[in-house]
Every structure is written in C-alpha cells, then in structure tokens.
Symmetry: C2
Subunit: 400 residues, 2 copies
Amino acid sequence: MDNMKKSICFPEGFLASGISCGIKKGKKKDLALVFSTYPCISSAVFTTNKVKSYSVIWSIKNIKNPIQAILANSGNANAACGKKGWDITTKIMEHLSLILNISSKNILFASTGLIGNPLPEKTIINSLEKIVKNLSYKNGIEAAESIITTDKQIKTEEITTSIAGIKKGGFVKLGAMAKGAGMINPNMATMLAFITTDAVISKELLQIALQKAVNDSFNMITIDNDQSTNDTVFCLANGQAGNKNIKENSEEFYIFSKALRDVCISLAKKIAKDGEGAKKFIEVSVFDAWSKKDAKRIAKKVAGSSLVKTAIAGAWSNWGRIMSSIGSARAKIEPANIKLEIGPYIVYNKEPIKFNDSELKQYLSEKEISIKIYISKGKENATAWGCDLTEEYIKINKKE
Amino acid sequence: MDNMKKSICFPEGFLASGISCGIKKGKKKDLALVFSTYPCISSAVFTTNKVKSYSVIWSIKNIKNPIQAILANSGNANAACGKKGWDITTKIMEHLSLILNISSKNILFASTGLIGNPLPEKTIINSLEKIVKNLSYKNGIEAAESIITTDKQIKTEEITTSIAGIKKGGFVKLGAMAKGAGMINPNMATMLAFITTDAVISKELLQIALQKAVNDSFNMITIDNDQSTNDTVFCLANGQAGNKNIKENSEEFYIFSKALRDVCISLAKKIAKDGEGAKKFIEVSVFDAWSKKDAKRIAKKVAGSSLVKTAIAGAWSNWGRIMSSIGSARAKIEPANIKLEIGPYIVYNKEPIKFNDSELKQYLSEKEISIKIYISKGKENATAWGCDLTEEYIKINKKE
C-alpha cells in the first residue's frame, strides 16, 4: 500500500507516536500522540450528534487556543459514561500537559470505540511518559495504526503544494491520517481525521478552507447512515514552511484550499473503500442538478440506500432502486428527464434503455462501481462515495 | 394465524377477489380487486417519493371522485418505465371500467414490485373478466394474498366499533389488508394498505382521521430507511352501516378515528414484524420529549439505526449505540438527563447503570424487544416499530 509511505509528520515540525497502552485487548496499538514543535493555528469540524464524547467536549473548549498536541485513543469512545467521563478526561489532559510542559489548554483530544464505558484512567496516565518519549517524525505510521478500530488498513495522506516556503526549493506541505470503518455517514460519523500543515495561514482562512474541504469529502461518504458521538476533523498549521502569509482570495489560498480538499477527499475515499464488510467501492456522481444542495442530497441518498448497496453486493442490475432513491432525496427533480448510467451502460434516459444484462452484471462484479445521474436542466454537480452492504457488515456489527 | 380469519370484506357491501394473472412466475397470486356495491367516500395517503408509480399518479388523479373499486397488482411497480407506463395504466383502467360498468374515474390503482418494467398489458387485460367474476365477500384472503411480495404472511385486520348502525345490533365496521416487507421506512415506503368501512362519514373527516392514523402507524415503522415509488394507503367508506353521519368533535368521530388508528397500528406492527429477513420485532417508545416531533424523530431514528438493529440481531447489549442514535436524531435533548431501558433492564440513568449482562443477553434473544427512552422534562411521547437487521435481509436484497 502506498499508504505505508505517507505520514502525518510530512510537514515541517510535526512529530508523532503510537503505542499499545492497554485499552484494547491483545497488545493492539490504541494511543496516538501528534505533537508540533511550535504552537499551531488550528481549526476543527466536530460531530453534530448531541450526545458528545467528553473528548469532543474537551476539544471544542480548546480549539480557540494555539494548539501543540493531539492525543487520540481507540477502543473506547469516552462517551455516555456520566460525570465521571469528564473528570477522567481532565485528569488525563492535566497529566499530559505536565509531561509535555505545555498548558492543557493547548492540547486536543479525540477518542473512538465503544460507547458507555469510562476511559481506563490509570492505564492511560501510566502510558503518557512512554508515548511522549516515543515522539519522532518517523513514527507517523505507528500513530495512524493507533487510531483505527475495525479498519482493515491505516489511512494516511501527504501532499506538497506549489506554495513556496522560506527554504530554497521548499514548499508548503500537508500530512494527514484518518480512521473510518463503521458508523460513517453524511455529516461525519465515527471518523477521525487529523491534518497537519506547515503553512503560514490565519485561523479564519484555515477554518473556511477546512469546512469546505470537509463538506466535499467526509460529509459525502456514507456507510450505514449512523452518526457517531465522536467524529472529529482537526487541522493544525504550525507556520514552519515560512511562506508568505496566505491571503483571502489569493492564488495561494486557492492552491492551499484545493490541496486540503484533495487530502480530505483522498482520506474519505479510503474510508468508504474500507467500510465494514465492504467488498465494493461505489462512486455516485450527480450532474446538472438545480442546486448544489440538491446534487449533494441525491448523491448521498443513492450512495446510502441499503437497497442500492445490497443490489450492488449481489451484482444485480436493479437500476429501479437507484431511480427510487433519487425520487426520495427531497431534491428538485423532473423524473421524466433523468438519465442514468451504471459504469459505461446507459440504463435509463427518459425511459428504460435496453442493455445487455450479462455485460452489466459483469461490470457490477468489479471492485469499483460508478453511478452517474444526470438530472438535466440544472448546473450543479456533486459526488458521494460509499460501499456495498454485505453479510459481513452484519456479522461485524452483531459481534458474533 | 388470526390473520387468516380477517378480511377487507368485513364491513357491509364490500367484495374482493385475488387471482394469479401471470405477472409473477409460478402461478403466484398477483392481481387483487376490491369492490364496493355502493360508491364510496374515499381518502388516501401517497408516497412522498418524486419518482411516482403510474398507478399512484392515476389514483392521485381520481381520489377526489366517488370510488367503487381498487385494482392492485404485485410483481411490478409500474414505475420509471417511460411514457408507455401511463398509456398501459390508462388502457387497463378503461378495460376494467367497461367490465365493471362504472367510469374509470371511480377506480383506484396500486402496484408493487420491481421498478423499471412496463406492466404486461395483455396479461392483465385478459384476466380482468376473471377477477371481476370472482368478486365475493368471501374472497378477502385471496385479495390479501395477491398484493404481497417478499412478505412471509398476509396482513389483514377487522374491527367493529361501538358506533350504532341502522340494523338492529349492527355497528360500524372496518376491514383492512396490507403488504409490507422490504423498503419500509418512515413516510411509508413500498407498502400498500387498503381499509374499508361501512361508516357514514364526510370526505373531509375521513381524510383527517386517515392522515392522523397513518402518521401514528405506517409513518412510524422503519425497516431499511429506503422509500418507495409506490406507497399508498386507501380508505373507502360506503356508508352501508347507515349510522348517523359522523360529525366533527363528536364522540363518534373520536371512536371512529381510534378504530382507524388501531387498524393502521395493527397492520404497521405486522409489517415491521415481517420485515425482510427479520427475526425480531423492535418497539421503541420515547417518553417526556419536548415536542411530538422530537419524540417521533428519536423513536424512528433508534428503530431505524443499522447499528442498533444489528446489535439486537446479535443479542448484544451495546446500549451505547442507542445513546448515539438518540443524539443524532435532530431533536432537543439533554444527554445528562436521559434514562434508557431495554426490556426490564435500566442500562443508563444520567450515567451508566450496572446490569447483569447475561440476563440482558437472554432478554435480547427473545422475539420481541422493547426499548424505552425517557428524555425527561418534556411531555410528549411516541412509539416506533422496526425489526432487526440480519444476513437474511442482505441475501434477499442481493437476489442470490
């Protein structure tokens, strides 16, 4: 996997580490730390779930501050465990702050795993010395391994932009890592993504760029229509590239925003491909819709339809389910003007189009399925990503 | 099954028949006719899907008229098949009108099955003589059999109200039949329900009573979050009981509305119990929410969560998934004040409550699972119904 070569420590001045501290059974890595040698401008997008993890609540409180570290654990969501949850969160953060010798206000926290059990306070606190000691720019992969749960593989990304830095031949860079797997949904559910950059940029512009990138990426993937208590995307910018401060409406802002969007889309697609039990990746593109909102609603509705997902799992050319999903998307459409393509096959164009069923079945047996929907008359497009729905998903989530 | 004794022909003056006309393979029944010897006041609730079956479009056009017959087929949705779909629909209706010797304006139509193929025009038209000839008050069961698809059993209901009719000892009655199975969702998806009554009631009051009954019943069941092109609930009232005209705000209206609601809830629960692949029935009750809308949203979100449904399939006491669903329901809540019960076990009350895991697992292995959610401080309640999500659902919908 090309993933293995990429790391959140790619931009200047970022270190990471990942260890097994004992939250999960069997010595699996479960605690990650990302550290910047300089305080960072930071921005975030959090879950909209009203039952929030204490880690999310902690980070919402601190995101306004300069940030220097992110602690993240897997194996426990740190959610719905009563007042105790907040106390334990605070204690862990205070301990980490002493060891790192920075204020706890400059640390973010993210958790993923089972909901309803308090974090094992001592287990984590006893491991903080070790995780700090292990910090290195070489340990991005260990950190990426420590945040995954039922993911089959780690998810990382790196991009070098064309924005010149202070060093000769140096450019602004971005690095990232994410975890996905189950419970992924429009509006980011149980997924974590951390993005680092050495860009010099203001907090306001970073937040604008991040929100837009998240809207077009993590908010356009859907695995099972469930929403988590813990979703978090962080972006830290430590300014170590030494580029000229990126200004609004500048070419540099456009370049930076595109790079951030590309990183997020790349991670989002990796998450969709690695959906629990997924055997096939599904890309749904909507063209010529009446509004961006309509285009996105339709794309997500189709990518998230259990009936479309199971039909694709069975390589069944039941395109009527796609039409039905389009109609149920609460978007403006004219059913009589829709055109529908599955891979290279037009199956509907104002009326059903004859196609070779065994050829389409062959196409639907591939690993990556493309669905194109032309609403007609409008001008807005959107793409959503998902995966098929298989017996394996049920098995994983029944915990058998 | 007690179902077997109940029939849509229970009220005075209704006849029905059901035959195999050849839409489905293997001589399965696939065409139903319900007929009233007198024209009926009628009301309906239709799918909100924008890709509508031509049968739905036909019925929307005619529902304003006095109605005397409902034709319904299974095995073909009569949807998304181009202009031809409407032409065929019209021809079938015109033929039926000649045979019944009533105007086609007085006939409703409903279809369920695969989307995208035109109805087999000749096959249906050639069977119309037979289905009319078979009309009898004894044939309600045959009609109920003709509208089911992947349902494992027919769904019918009968109720006798306490509203006195013209005959000595006679009372206003209701009869009903429905089909459910897959693609069931809040806002009624691929389900058909036909209700007959011999009540004397105005069109306006019948529509009010029906909409309310549907909101509390069919719109509160969820199987897979998909929405069909074909959902339809019809209620026909032929006035043959000869009761005093039911007036607004009268005790009789209250009694009639309650009976209609009871019929709809009974059918809705039968549909949820018979969800594709379902092994367990789930009832989610929400108490003390801030508004009716909030209560309904929470109940439906939990009953529809893939993760809750699979956990229950696996008899897994992962109540954190319920908390997460509650939080994602877009309803006002105070996470710190929630109380959560699974069957007789309190699992959360402002904080996690210790329970005997093997006892709870035992409970979750039963056929009917009750989840009670106390939001606290509010005054509104709601109940939703669903089923577990099993490998069998995937198999059915992969068409393997």
